[in-house]
């Protein structure tokens, strides 16, 4: 068998997104159909283009099949694998040119990206440690353990200017140095994978796609600060990530990358998984520590900082998943290499999950310094159906909504902060004209208010008051003075809260007030919602010119609000109507007789 044939591989994306579209069944069927053929079928972590999933990729030629179903498997086997004839009908269709694109590297979504942290994600089988080592994995750990002193590693990380990718952007080298300098008999390394921000899945994808890169980063961090024990804190809502991490840790132990005397050195290090039990505030490092200790996840007063007194009162280094996954790259390629990527103040790459109304949703890694516009319109392909872009929400409940006029700012920690948003853990939600900005602010406040641990008053009471006002506004009970009151309360909660949750919770409100104040004013003064989202501020109406009296809306209305005889024009009783929208959905498209209006009729 020639080497060329031997190395042929068919990769099936088995990230959570594709698995939910049944890619696991595709994988099994492909394996079954090719059991006697010279081709390797393997599952991979998130390949990125979730929107087009399930994805099947052929390597080394890079042929990219999207939206695959179980029924397509036979054709792929018969045509592509047997006769080396790619199946054209399964190629990606460029929505702009209308032409098919066979190789993923030519697709715009991939072309503009720079994959460093995700270098191996979507290429190797995450459940096979050998695939990771064969692609250069654990070389950095080997180098750090056998050739470098802790001070050397520290110097390299500091020189690289890597900043914490969990969102706040604290210099990683400095954090490591604090822990290195702390004197104690025991120290800990914690990987913060409590990705609680709704609308982001980057940490999950790193765990699912390249779990060993996190483990490798933790080994190096542990050796540097002098810790022998690490914890990976991962959300229980990510069952697949937990499963793959468990396998990865077990395999790393078997290969002596974890355990006693790692790789023949004197250094011992082991990792335990801790499953978070569902509390957003546990993403805050001191709350996370309390949670591991078996307590309620409330933040601690700082100082002392975890670097001095963290888990069980010992010096503790807490880094985000992506920060740790960046470490091996820096050790392998050097600080100068890393320094060349990114902007003056933010080096390296950032991973975003691009979602919402973007035409191309998925997992995206770009160099710092790329503009938001490039990410949304080049990689993301703009909005679905070319609807009018309204806002980009970035940074989860702690982040903010940016209008179109700010899309030329560059992605880095400082520019985003200046605009009122933040990097956060990297959720990017594209919103078009059908999204109501007041509703979005309410949505986030509703979330943070529920997730507030209740320890400090400004956060517990302030978010509740803000939410009450926002609820009034979307229910049509808003008063003109509410808008200024909201703005005043936002500042109070921001300055008065103990931890990051409260300090950033008002951000969605502050930014929407700043950039979309006219929408608030419309809700309050004109009692209308232009996006037609807020039920109390819209009305449904049957267009008599279009209604044929088919009676479908009449039959489906749960509130008996529609009257009319068969074959005659129907009418909606506005007093009875609860604006559930069922009639709007049910009216056959050929008639389209039901219309929705902003405001009350």
């Amino acid at each position: 068998m020639s080497k060329d044939i031997k190395s042929r591989e068919i990769l099936v994306c088995c990230g959570t997104g594709c698995v939910s579209a049944k890619s696991d069944q595709i994988l099994d069927k492909l394996k079954k159909y090719t059991s006697n053929k010279p081709v390797k079928i393997k599952p991979i972590g998130c390949h990125g283009f979730c929107q087009q999933g399930p994805l099947v990729i052929s390597e080394p030629d890079g042929i990219f099949y999207c939206n695959i179903t179980n029924d397509d498997v036979e054709e792929i086997v018969n045509s592509h694998i047997e006769r080396k004839k790619p199946v054209e009908r399964l190629f990606y269709l460029d929505p702009i040119t209308g032409k098919t694109i066979p190789h993923y590297k030519d697709i715009k979504f991939y072309k503009e990206q720079k994959r460093l942290i995700l270098r191996n994600c979507g290429h190797i089988n995450p459940e096979e440690i050998d695939e990771y080592t064969e692609s250069g994995g654990y070389q950095a750990a080997r180098k750090a353990l056998n050739e470098m002193r802790p001070e050397d590693i520290l110097m390299m990380i500091k020189k690289s200017s890597l900043r914490g990718l969990g969102g706040a952007g604290f210099p990683t080298g400095l954090k490591w140095e604090f822990c290195y300098n702390a004197k104690a008999d025991e120290k800990y390394v914690i990987c913060n994978g409590d990705e609680g921000d709704p609308g982001s899945f980057q940490d999950m994808s790193v765990f699912e796609g390249v779990p060993h890169s996190v483990i490798e980063g933790m080994i190096i961090a542990g050796k540097t600060i002098g810790a022998n024990k690490g914890y990976i804190y991962v959300r229980a809502e990510y069952p697949l990530a937990i499963k793959r991490l468990k396998i990865a840790i077990m395999q790393a132990q078997e290969k002596a990358f974890l355990g006693k005397n790692i790789l023949g050195s004197k250094y011992c290090f082991d990792i335990e998984i801790f499953q978070g039990a569902g509390a957003f505030v546990c993403g805050e490092e001191t709350a996370l520590i309390n949670s591991i200790e078996g307590k309620r996840g409330t933040p601690r007063q700082r100082p002392p900082f975890p670097a001095e007194s963290g888990l069980w009162g010992k010096p503790t280094l807490i880094n985000n998943v992506k920060t740790l996954a960046s470490v091996a790259n820096i050790i392998n390629n050097g600080a100068e290499w890393f320094n060349k990527i990114g902007t003056n103040t933010s080096k390296g790459t950032a991973i975003f999950s691009l979602t919402g109304e973007a035409a191309n949703c998925g997992l995206v890694e770009v160099p710092m310094g790329m503009t938001l516009r490039e990410i949304i319109f080049e990689i993301g392909g703009g909005t679905i159906d070319n609807k009018k872009f309204k806002a980009l929400h970035i940074g989860g409940p702690s982040g903010g909504c940016l209008p179109e006029s700010l899309l030329d700012i560059k992605v880095d920690f400082d520019s985003l902060k200046k605009a009122g948003a933040m990097m956060g853990s990297g959720g990017m939600v594209v919103m078009d004209e059908t999204t109501c900005m007041v509703d979005v602010a309410k949505y986030f406040l509703d979330f943070t208010q529920k997730e507030s641990c209740g320890d400090c008053n400004p956060c517990r009471l302030g978010t509740k008051q803000m939410l009450d006002i926002l609820n009034d506004i979307v229910e049509g009970k808003g008063k003109p003075e509410d808008i200024d009151l909201l703005s005043y309360l936002s500042e109070s909660v921001k300055t008065g809260s103990l931890c990051g949750l409260g300090q950033t919770a008002p951000n969605p409100v502050i930014t929407t007030l700043k950039y979309f104040r006219d929408e608030y004013e419309e809700h309050v003064n004109k009692k209308l919602c232009r996006a037609k989202k807020c039920k109390a501020l819209i009305s449904y109406y049957i267009n008599p010119d279009k209604c044929t009296g088919c009676h479908i809306c009449f039959k489906n209305c749960p509130d008996n609000a529609i009257s009319g005889e068969a074959k005659k024009t129907h009418e909606i009783n506005q007093d009875k109507c609860t604006r559930c929208g069922i009639c709007f959905e049910k009216c056959p498209p050929k008639f389209n007789a039901i219309e929705c209006y902003p405001g009350k009729i």
């Binding site: 979730c50 899945f201 039990a277 949505y443």
Partner: protein
């Protein structure tokens, strides 16, 4: 109660009984029993040598823990940002209409429990839900109808 104690004893046999294990212990109990009953929490307190108030304090803090039994099918509607923007509320209302219970409730026949969840990480397939371990994405009213309306028995297959 005795049977319950024995059962809990077996469930927790892999733990050493230290207070720090509280959260994994509660997770394990809930995994096996479906929910945290008062008896189970009292047992956990005794097992870990910590006050019952601590156990309840921690259990009630975290979203994951529940204190009543759940239906055979646990339906979780994702309410993450992407899903919210793409109509998670409508999805919740539609499902609620089909199975006749509201968010947070369990049906009387113990068939369904309907819950909201912050984010399950399938944002690119929004709006999505999970039914037990299965994720269903890109939901439309039609798909929801398919998932939740009992299929009429096809007479031909009975022949």
């Amino acid at each position: 109660m005795l049977v319950m104690k024995e059962k809990l004893g077996i469930i927790l046999s892999s733990f050493s009984g230290e207070g720090r294990e509280l959260i994994p212990v509660l997770q394990k109990v809930q995994d096996e029993m479906g929910y945290l009953s008062p008896e189970a929490m009292l047992y956990a307190a005794e097992f870990l040598k910590i006050p019952p108030s601590n156990v309840f304090g921690v259990a009630s803090f975290y979203e994951q823990f529940r204190f009543s039994p759940v239906g055979k099918k646990m339906v979780m509607v994702c309410q993450g940002t992407a899903c919210h923007v793409k109509g998670a509320e409508k999805v919740m209302n539609e499902i609620s209409r089909h199975i006749g219970i509201k968010k947070g409730q369990t049906s009387e026949d113990m068939e369904y429990t309907l819950k909201g969840v912050t984010c399950i990480g399938c944002c690119a397939l929004a709006p999505c839900i999970t039914i037990n371990d299965d994720v269903h994405g890109r939901l439309t009213p039609k798909l929801i109808e398919k998932l939740f309306i009992k299929k009429p028995v096809n007479k031909k297959t009975n022949e």
